[in-house]
Symmetry: C2
Subunit: 197 residues, 2 copies
């Protein structure tokens, strides 16, 4: 694995900065990868897009900014619109299907994270944990994401940060994991012409 | 202000990743600066040093990694030892005086953050908030840090993240702020010879 880039993007209050920390700790502390997690704010931060980038590699990471996204989690339409041109050719888009409806991207997974959080837990704020559960299935299902994170490492990192919410968080992860499994996505890599000169 | 770099460093469990998020949100969301907050993990992350870097600027930040530290908060001896060679000439070191005892650096502020947290709140885990309170005094007292953060913006960012702990967090910030005030530090910039050719 050379370099795998994840962006978690949405609006403030959706808990994506926290989700980025959890994902980074799962890959860095529990999977033993090199990880850089970055959050940027600009003068328009209040009320605008909130996002966290997580870059994972088997080796040291020289350039910590996102260059091409292997996986984008978009929790708002604006989040997708702003980062659409940063997808790698074989990248995967994961969207909250209630909140992001204008998407023509082919390699997209649509799951109603916020609806699941609301209906199963009575708290829309848990959508970030449900989404992490989905990522724990989707990321390792990609060739470039193998060994980067697992349901177990995510759960361990989450329990470390929020020991008092361990049980409900585990359930939320499981909901997301199941929802992702049901999409039965097959992420074949785009065909390549090999090393033709 | 060109570029101001803060590193919060210590051991896992001291809450420095969270402190980095709060500091970044205070400067980015409440003070309207450009901010990049970065956390890195390596294969030795478990049990090793935990740190968060926050780079603040009036303009867009091209290079998000720390280059020269304007302010280092060191909450363990190892944290100081590892980052000592990254201080800018006019940088300021802030240490937990109980935990970091081997320091010859001149521009150092020594405050027993962990002891204060333990004695005033019965919880050593609040040392990170006490330390943020101290930074809210020290950073704006530096010429390079003017307008970057204030007790008010830090308090607002903290209340946003932890609304249910608003009162105790405010008290912890205040304890750190008072402790920093009592050190009566004067951070004159190192003398310069000006533009002599």
């Amino acid at each position: 694995m050379d370099r795998y880039e994840v962006r978690l993007s949405g609006t403030g209050g959706q808990g994506l900065v926290v989700a980025g920390v959890i994902l980074a700790e799962a890959a860095g502390i529990y999977e033993g990868k090199y990880v850089v997690q970055t959050v940027s704010y600009g003068p328009a931060a209040r009320g605008g897009t909130s996002r966290a980038d997580v870059v994972v590699s088997d080796g040291e990471i020289d350039y910590p900014k996102a260059i091409g996204l292997d996986l984008l989690l978009a929790m708002s339409q604006q989040a997708w619109d702003e980062s659409a041109d940063m997808m790698k050719p074989n990248g995967v888009l994961v969207v909250d299907s209630e909140l992001v409806t204008q998407v023509t991207y082919e390699r997209a997974v649509r799951i109603p994270f916020t609806k699941i959080a609301r209906e199963k837990f009575g708290r829309e704020q848990m959508a970030n944990i449900v989404a992490l559960g989905a990522l724990s299935h989707i990321i390792p299902a990609m060739q470039a994401g193998a060994g980067l994170v697992s349901p177990e490492s995510l759960q361990a990192a989450l329990a470390d940060r929020f020991p008092q919410a361990r049980e409900v968080n585990q359930k939320a992860l499981q909901e997301g994991l199941e929802a992702a499994r049901q999409t039965q996505i097959v992420f074949e890599e785009p065909s390549s012409d090999g090393n033709q000169i």
